[in-house]
C-alpha cells in the first residue's frame, strides 16, 4: 500500500501548516514595530478583532452554508458580558484576570448562541437567514427595554484597567491591548482552523452541500447546524470581548444590523471558500474603514462599489481569486498571465482615476463647507464648480473602462489557453 508515502506527505503538509501558523504569529508580533504610530496600532488591534469575528462568521456561511444577518448579536453580547464582568471586577464583586476576560465574552456568545441557535437552526436556507435577521433586529430593538444590560442609548462602559491580571501589565496603553488581542487572535484562529478538520467540521460541510443526504448517513442536520452555530457564537463572543476591552464601551448598535452586515461583507469579500479568506476581508475592510474614511467622504461608496464588483466578477472573494492561480502556478504557467495582466494596469488605473475623480468632486460639490474651494486630486488643484474637470474625469473614466473591456477579453482568452494545457483543477482543499 501507499502508507509510507502517504504518511510522509501528511507529515510534509503538517509541517507546512505549522510553518504558516508560526509565520502568522510572528507577523502579529512584528507589526507594531513596523507601524508604530498610535493610529496604526489601534487599527491593527481592530483588525485582530474583526479577523476573529469574520472567521467565526465563516464557520456559519462558509463551512455550514448558513447565511446569517444577525451574527453581531453574539459578538455584541460577548462584549456586553465582558464589560459587565470588568465592571464587577473593578467594583470588587469578583475576581477574574483581564487576559481571560474574552472567555467571559465567549461564554456569553455561546450562551446566546445556544438559546437563539436552538430556534433558528431548525430551519435552513432563506428561512434561516430571515430568522437571523429577525433575531438581530429583535435584540437591537430590545436594547432600549433591557437598559440594565445594554445601557440604553449611552451603552455600557467600563475601565479596562482592573489591576487583576496574570501578567505584569496594566492594559492601559494601547500597545499592551494590541498584544492581548494579537495573542487571542492567533490562538482562536488556530482553534477555528482545527475545527474545520474535525468530524463536526466535515459534517457541517456535508450539511451545507446536501442536507438531505446527510440525514441518510446518520446525521441530524439540525443538530449539526446547531452545534456549529453555538460554537460560532462562542468565537464571535470572544471577538466581542476583545472589542469591548479595546473600546471600553458597547452600545446597542454593536448587536445591530449594521455590525452584522459589515461582518458579512468582510467575510464575503475575503472569500468564503477558503479558511484564510475572511482574514483578508477583515484586514482590507478594517483598513478601508479606518484609513480610507480619513481620506475620503465617499469611502462607503467605494466600499459598496468594491463589494458589488466582487459579487459580480469574483464571487469567491479575494481568496478565491488567489486560489484560482494555484493551478497555473503548479503547472508552471503563471508567467503567461503576467503580460496580459500588465496590459490591464494602465486601463485599470485610468478607470480608477476617472471614477475617483468623479466621486470625489461630487462629494466635494455636495458636502463641502465651501464647494468653490479647490480640492487636491492626484496632485492637482481642482475647482469642482467648473465644467472642465468634470469633462476630463468622465472622459478618462470612459476610456479606461473601454480599454479595460478589451483587455479583459484578452485575459479571458489567455486563461482559456492555460486551462487547456493544465489539468482539470482538483477539488479545492
Amino acid at each position: 500500500m501507499s502508507g509510507a508515502s502517504n504518511s510522509g506527505a501528511a507529515l510534509g503538509s503538517l509541517l507546512r501548516q505549522i510553518i504558516v501558523w508560526v509565520v502568522f504569529a510572528a507577523v502579529v508580533v512584528v507589526l507594531p514595530h513596523l507601524f508604530t504610530s498610535g493610529s496604526s496600532i489601534s487599527m491593527m488591534s481592530q483588525m485582530g478583532v474583526f479577523i476573529l469575528f469574520a472567521l467565526s462568521y465563516n464557520m456559519l456561511l462558509g463551512e455550514a452554508g448558513m447565511l446569517s444577518f444577525g451574527h453581531a448579536v453574539y459578538f455584541g453580547i460577548g462584549g456586553f458580558f465582558t464589560l459587565h464582568a470588568i465592571r464587577a471586577v473593578n467594583d470588587g464583586v469578583f475576581s477574574w484576570p483581564l487576559e481571560l476576560m474574552p472567555l467571559v465574552g465567549g461564554a456569553g456568545g455561546l450562551l446566546f448562541g445556544i438559546i437563539f441557535g436552538s430556534v433558528s437552526t431548525r430551519r435552513a436556507g432563506v428561512t434561516f437567514a430571515m430568522i437571523t435577521l429577525g433575531i438581530g433586529s429583535l435584540v437591537e430593538s430590545s436594547a432600549n427595554m433591557f437598559t440594565d444590560f445594554f445601557g440604553g442609548e449611552s451603552g455600557i462602559s467600563a475601565n479596562r484597567v482592573t489591576e487583576v491580571t496574570l501578567l505584569p501589565f496594566s492594559y492601559g496603553p494601547q500597545i499592551q491591548v494590541y498584544y492581548l488581542i494579537g495573542a487571542w487572535t492567533v490562538f482562536a484562529a488556530l482553534l477555528m482552523y482545527l475545527l474545520t478538520r474535525t468530524p463536526l467540521g466535515r459534517i457541517s460541510n456535508a450539511v451545507r452541500d446536501n442536507p438531505e443526504r446527510a440525514q441518510f448517513v446518520g446525521y441530524n442536520t439540525t443538530m449539526a447546524r446547531f452545534v456549529q452555530f453555538a460554537l460560532s457564537g462562542f468565537f464571535a463572543g470572544i471577538a466581542g470581548g476583545l472589542f469591548a476591552i479595546m473600546f471600553e464601551i458597547m452600545t446597542a448598535s454593536n448587536v445591530g444590523l449594521i455590525q452584522s452586515g459589515s461582518v458579512l461583507l468582510m467575510t464575503f469579500i475575503g472569500g468564503v471558500g477558503v479558511f484564510f479568506g475572511p482574514i483578508i476581508g477583515a484586514v482590507l475592510i478594517t483598513y478601508m474603514q479606518t484609513a480610507l474614511s480619513g481620506f475620503s467622504e465617499g469611502w462607503i461608496l467605494y466600499f459598496g462599489l468594491l463589494f458589488v464588483f466582487m459579487v459580480m466578477y469574483a464571487p469567491m472573494g479575494i481568496a478565491g481569486v488567489i486560489v484560482a492561480h494555484f493551478a497555473p502556478w503548479r503547472a508552471g504557467q503563471l508567467h503567461r498571465l503576467i503580460p496580459v495582466y500588465a496590459l490591464a494596469v494602465v486601463p485599470a488605473m485610468l478607470a480608477l482615476a476617472g471614477l475617483v475623480s468623479v466621486i470625489e468632486m461630487g462629494y466635494h460639490l455636495s458636502l463641502a463647507y465651501d464647494p468653490s474651494q479647490p480640492i487636491d486630486l492626484f496632485y492637482m488643484q481642482v475647482n469642482v464648480t467648473r465644467l472642465l474637470p468634470w469633462v476630463v474625469a468622465v472622459v478618462v473614466l470612459a476610456v479606461g473602462v473601454a480599454l479595460l473591456k478589451w483587455v479583459s477579453g484578452r485575459i479571458r482568452e489567455r486563461w482559456n489557453d492555460i486551462n487547456k494545457t493544465t489539468e482539470r483543477p482538483e477539488a479545492a482543499r
Binding site: 440604553g152 449611552s154 462602559s157 471600553e248 454593536n254 480619513g294 463647507y369
Partner: protein, 393 residues
C-alpha cells in the same frame, strides 16, 4: 504647529444630520471670523468635522482618531448619551496619555449629570443644563394659572428621561394642583409618524405639553400636532430652529414657548448691532439655516480668552485658565463656574408670535418674543460635583 484644531464630533449623517450640520456651520463660520481677526495667539483655528452618527461608541472611536491626529480640543453637543461617553472616554484617555491630553467643550448636551456626579476636569459645558432650564420653565408655568393638565413627551435617553423626571417633580412642588395626564418616552430618532402620540395627547385632554425633543423628533412632533389640529401650549427646549418653526405653522401663534440663552430678536431689544450684522451675514451665507447657537460664540470667545490668559494652547493650562473665567455677551456676563465647569449665563423664556420685533423665523412670518429674562446668577443650581484636578505641571 500653526493651527489650533478643534475636533467637531456630532452627527453628520442619520436622523440628526441636519442638527449636526447646522452646528458645524456655526463653528466653521465663527472660526473663519476669528481667523480673519488674527486668530488666537497668532495661530489659526481649524474645525475638523467627524461624523459620530449620534452613537456613543462611534464617538469613542473618533476620540481615538482625534488623539492620533494630535487634536487637543473637541466639541460636541448633540446627545447627552454621547457626551457622557465622551466625558469618561476623555477622562481615561488623559489619565493614560498625559502627553497628549484632550479638552472637551460641550456646547449643547444638557444632562445635569455631566456637571454633577459624572463631572470631569476636562469637560466644560456652555449651555445651561437641563435642571437650570427646567427650573426656569416650571417657574414660568407656576404663574400660568390656566394650566390644569400637563403632558410630557420626550426622547427615550438620558436627556429626555431627565426632563420627564424633573418636570414632574418640579411641577408637583410648584403647582400641586396641576395634573400630569401623560408621560411618554419614545425612541430617539426613529419615529417617522407622530400621529399616534398626538392622538394620545389629544385624548388625554392636556392643555400644555412639555418636551425636550430636538431635531426631527421635535419638528415631526409639532407637525403632526398641527396637522391634526391639536390645540395645546408647548413648553419646549428647542423650538427655535432647524425646521421646527416651519413645522409649527400659523396655528401655533402664541402657543409655543422655549427656554434658551437667546433668540434673534433679543439682539434688537438689547441693541447689539454687531450681533445683528453677524446673524444676517450668517443667514445670507447659508440659506435655510439660522444663527441659532449664541453659546457657540461664547464658547469660542472663552476658549480664545483662556488660551491668551494661559499664554499657551496646552490643554492642561487652558483648562485651568478656563475655570472661573468670564466673557461678556450682549446680555450680560457669562462665567464658567470652577466647581463643576458649568457656564452660568442669562436665560430667556420666549413665545412664538406674530408680534415679534424684527426677525421672523425661517420665513414663516412668525417670530420669537421675550417673555422673561432670568439673570445668570438666578439660573444657578447647586452641584454635587467633586472635581478631581490633575497636578498643574
Amino acid at each position: 504647529e500653526d493651527t489650533i484644531k478643534i475636533g467637531y464630533i456630532d452627527p453628520l449623517s442619520g436622523a440628526f444630520a441636519n442638527v449636526g450640520d447646522a452646528g458645524l456651520k456655526h463653528f466653521q463660520y465663527l472660526a473663519e471670523k476669528m481667523n480673519a481677526a488674527g486668530g488666537v495667539l497668532g495661530k489659526k483655528i481649524e474645525i475638523v468635522p467627524f461624523d459620530n452618527k449620534t452613537n456613543a461608541q462611534e464617538s469613542l472611536q473618533i476620540l481615538r482618531e482625534v488623539a492620533d491626529q494630535h487634536i487637543h480640543y473637541i466639541t460636541q453637543g448633540n446627545g447627552s448619551s454621547v457626551a457622557g461617553a465622551l466625558v469618561s472616554g476623555v477622562e481615561k484617555h488623559n489619565q493614560r496619555n498625559p502627553d497628549n491630553r484632550i479638552v472637551f467643550l460641550n456646547y449643547a448636551a444638557v444632562d445635569p449629570a455631566l456637571t454633577n456626579d459624572k463631572c470631569s476636569f476636562w469637560h466644560f459645558r456652555f449651555d445651561a443644563n437641563s435642571e437650570m432650564k427646567m427650573k426656569a420653565i416650571t417657574d414660568y408655568m407656576a404663574d400660568q394659572k390656566d394650566i390644569k393638565k400637563v403632558f410630557l413627551i420626550n426622547q427615550d435617553y438620558s436627556h429626555g428621561q431627565y426632563i420627564s423626571k424633573a418636570g414632574k417633580e418640579m411641577l408637583k412642588e410648584k403647582r400641586p394642583d396641576i395634573k400630569i395626564v401623560g408621560d411618554v418616552l419614545h425612541p430617539i430618532g426613529k419615529v417617522k409618524d407622530f400621529s399616534p402620540y398626538i392622538s394620545q395627547i389629544k385624548s388625554s385632554g392636556a392643555d400644555a405639553v412639555i418636551t425636550g425633543n430636538w431635531g426631527n423628533d421635535l419638528s415631526l412632533l409639532v407637525k403632526a400636532g398641527s396637522q391634526a389640529g391639536l390645540d395645546v401650549d408647548w413648553y419646549s427646549y428647542y423650538a427655535g430652529g432647524l425646521g421646527t418653526p416651519t413645522a409649527l405653522g400659523k396655528g401655533a401663534i402664541g402657543h409655543v414657548k422655549m427656554i434658551t440663552e437667546w433668540q434673534e430678536n433679543l439682539a434688537v431689544r438689547y441693541k447689539a448691532p454687531e450681533l445683528q450684522s453677524m446673524l444676517e451675514e450668517f443667514e445670507n451665507r447659508y440659506s435655510g439655516i439660522e444663527f441659532y447657537y449664541l453659546r457657540v460664540k461664547t464658547e469660542m470667545d472663552m476658549l480664545k480668552k483662556a488660551m491668551e490668559k494661559a499664554g499657551s494652547t496646552d490643554p492642561l493650562k487652558v483648562a485651568y485658565a478656563m475655570e472661573g473665567l468670564s466673557v461678556d455677551t450682549p446680555f450680560g456676563k457669562a462665567t464658567m463656574r470652577g466647581d463643576d465647569h458649568q457656564l452660568l449665563q442669562t436665560l430667556f423664556m420666549s413665545t412664538f408670535t406674530d408680534d415679534y420685533l424684527k426677525y421672523d423665523s425661517e420665513g414663516t412670518g412668525i417670530g420669537w418674543k421675550m417673555d422673561a429674562r432670568i439673570p445668570a446668577d438666578e439660573t444657578a443650581t447647586p452641584t454635587s460635583c467633586e472635581m478631581k484636578r490633575p497636578s498643574r505641571s
